[in-house]
């Protein structure tokens, strides 16, 4: 089984590699043949430069010598720690709520499902600042829900670390829901039927059959949500404010540092860049192989 498929894989690789290399060469030299036409090639190269040059600039201008000192300062550690804790907590919240939500959207037919899906994914395209304002209106001390939280349970979310988690989860959860729902739709629902004929309730079937089958999709969605939460700025600063040690996450610290200590801002940015590269490397198998 593996032998012939390996062989055919190698064969298609050589097939693909040959003409592709030749095509680029003719395009580069003569501009004729079957190479990339200039009206497409030039904007494409500009696009690459546009996306890559700023990152290179960050590396070029990085204060490499003072970097260890900058990165070991108490403030940086505080911000980094807070960022990691809040992003992880927001991802956990997203998992607990988002996976069942994705299951509901993928597996249960109910009236208005399309509308619910649209509303749930709205935070994907909503400006994060608007999300922050909306959260204040809902969960602020005078918000429609926050008022009761405050008077009944004495819980206040805005301008607390918990508020950071709420703001990040609000923005990041849709990424997880979309990713998990897609995986669920691709998974064969008949496995759940098979589980049912063996005496499994719908929940048992979900827990023991569906969940393990879609685990890779959940992991990818969680990483995506985590990365989004880690970089969250607008909703966080609006809903949770900017208090060092309590609500000041890395992106807020970068923004603030840029005004007083640009070198520190660059150093902090490098840390976030490194984390992003690590995330991309982690997801490589899932998304980069498509090309």
């Amino acid at each position: 089984m593996t032998l012939p498929s390996d062989k055919s894989g190698a064969a298609t690789d050589t097939l693909r590699g040959g003409p592709r290399r030749r095509r680029v060469r003719t395009g580069g030299i003569g501009g004729g043949g079957r190479g990339a036409p200039l009206p497409l090639l030039v904007p494409a190269l500009i696009g690459v430069a546009f996306l890559v040059v700023p990152l290179i600039a960050l590396l070029v201008r990085a204060p490499w010598r003072s970097l260890p000192e900058l990165l070991t300062s108490a403030e940086v550690w505080q911000a980094l720690q807070l960022s990691l804790v809040c992003a992880t907590a927001a991802t956990a919240v997203s998992l607990v709520i988002g996976v069942p939500l994705a299951w509901l959207l993928a597996r249960v037919e109910f009236p208005g499902r399309g509308l619910v899906r649209a509303l749930v994914t709205l935070p994907l395209v909503l400006p994060p600042v608007v999300g922050g304002v909306a959260l204040l209106m809902a969960l602020g001390r005078n918000g429609i829900v926050g008022r009761s939280l405050d008077s009944w349970f004495g819980i206040t979310l805005p301008f607390t670390t918990a508020g950071v988690v709420v703001a990040e989860a609000f923005v990041a959860m849709p990424f997880l829901v979309i990713s998990v729902e897609g995986t669920l739709r691709a998974a064969d629902p008949r496995f759940e039927e098979a589980a049912a004929t063996l005496g499994a309730s719908r929940f048992t079937a979900f827990r023991r059959v569906t969940l393990p089958l879609i685990a890779p999709g959940i992991a990818a969605g969680a990483v995506l949500a985590w990365a989004r939460a880690l970089g969250e700025f607008g909703a966080t600063i609006t809903f949770a404010g900017n208090f060092p040690g309590r609500t000041q996450t890395m992106p807020l610290a970068v923004y603030l540092a840029l005004q007083s200590d640009p070198e520190a801002a660059i150093a902090l940015s490098l840390v976030l860049l490194a984390v992003s590269v690590a995330v991309l490397a982690g997801l490589r198998d899932r998304w980069m192989t498509a090309g």
């Binding site: 008949r190 004929t197 719908r202």
Partner: protein, 356 residues
């Protein structure tokens, strides 16, 4: 062999009248099966066999009708609460679990502890000759092994009704032969009701005590394999069992077909009848035979030819459309080709007539 239960009030076994409506399609099948009996739902693709199976398992809701198993009404029971085991067409073994844990899944859902469930699963795997593959994931199993794991998984819940959806369809020809024989043995040992769905007449005849032929959502014929093979009642069944089948009005030894020509038979009957004869009973001539000992003589045109093993199957059109089998040599001597004119004869002793 078991006899079909004549009395539908029998408390034991399956007593079902399945009605499922989906758009313009309507399934309406009555099914009574005694414990220990194996019934095959046989029919062409799209006849509604799988829908019937899903309705029995509770995966598709009944529009109306009834479903009783050992005297208990199950129409409104959720699939997980029915004492039903299913072997799916492509088995649907859980890919993330070993063969052992696949089989232990059912007992576990029924409340057994992990250790008990695994012990029971190991017993079933052993019984089906799979003890060596207990630790294997489904993708490491061959088609025949996967089929047996699926059977063990379904049996491990001690179902009172075992359902098998095209149990051999996913196997290649050689494995199929071997697995068919094994499955027959396991089904014979099974003490409760077994219903299998297939479009393959050979699978149905080897595995089942009784066949229920379903066409277009309805039961068109029901009986033992040998009865159905001898007395087909629809063109579909006649084709399955390889017979030429006609319907007509009998008057003594002669049957006047609805389409015009008459066939002489040995049986003496009157009223509406079927007449059947195998393609091998047909003899072909290039010119009208002069001896004419056979009274059944028709002028035909060759519509098509295909190879059937070492035989040639000629598809003949004309006043009596029929299929004829002849050897390759005979076909060459007759210079058969599509469009060729031939004379076909069948001896009365080779035909078989029976009342509708």
């Amino acid at each position: 062999m078991h006899d079909a239960p004549a009395d539908t009030t029998t408390p034991d076994g399956l007593d079902a009248h399945l009605v499922v409506e989906r758009g313009t399609f309507r399934l309406d099948v009555a099914l009574s099966v005694a414990p220990g009996e194996v019934v095959a739902l046989l029919g062409p693709n799209g006849a509604g066999k799988t829908t019937a199976l899903r309705a029995l398992a509770g995966l598709t809701a009944l529009t109306e009708g009834r479903l009783r198993l050992d005297g208990t009404a199950l129409e409104r029971t959720a699939p997980e609460s029915r004492p039903v085991g299913v072997v799916f067409q492509d088995y649907l073994l859980f890919p993330h679990l070993t063969a052992l844990d696949n089989v232990a899944f059912g007992p576990r859902c029924q409340g057994a502890t992990k250790a008990e469930a695994r012990a029971r699963a190991a017993e079933w795997l052993d019984r089906l000759g799979l003890a060596d593959h207990a630790g294997a994931k489904p993708r490491k199993l061959s088609g025949g092994q996967a089929q047996r794991v699926a059977l063990a998984r379904a049996l491990a819940t001690h179902p009172r009704l075992l359902l098998l959806d095209e149990p051999l369809a996913a196997l290649d020809a050689r494995t199929r032969l071997e697995v068919r024989a094994q499955l027959r043995r396991h089904l014979a040992e099974f003490e409760a009701v077994a219903v299998l769905v297939t479009h393959d007449p050979l699978d149905a005849m080897v595995l089942a005590d009784r066949l229920v032929v379903v066409e277009d959502g309805r039961v068109v014929q029901e009986g033992t394999p040998s009865d159905i093979a001898r007395h087909p009642r629809t063109d579909y069944i006649a084709q399955l069992v390889g017979l030429n089948l006609y319907r007509g009005e009998a008057d003594g030894h002669s049957v006047r077909l609805d389409t015009g020509p008459a066939i002489t038979t040995t049986e003496v009957l009157s009223g509406p009848v079927f007449v059947a004869f195998p393609p091998s009973a047909v003899t072909l001539y290039r010119d009208r035979p002069t001896g004419a000992s056979a009274r059944n003589l028709w002028r035909c045109e060759v519509a098509g030819l295909e190879t059937h093993g070492d035989q040639i199957r000629a598809d003949l059109a004309g006043e009596l459309p029929l299929a004829a089998d002849l050897t390759t040599v005979a076909a060459a001597e007759l210079e058969l080709h599509p469009g060729a004119e031939v004379w076909a004869t069948v001896k009365a002793t080779q035909t078989h007539a029976y009342p509708v």
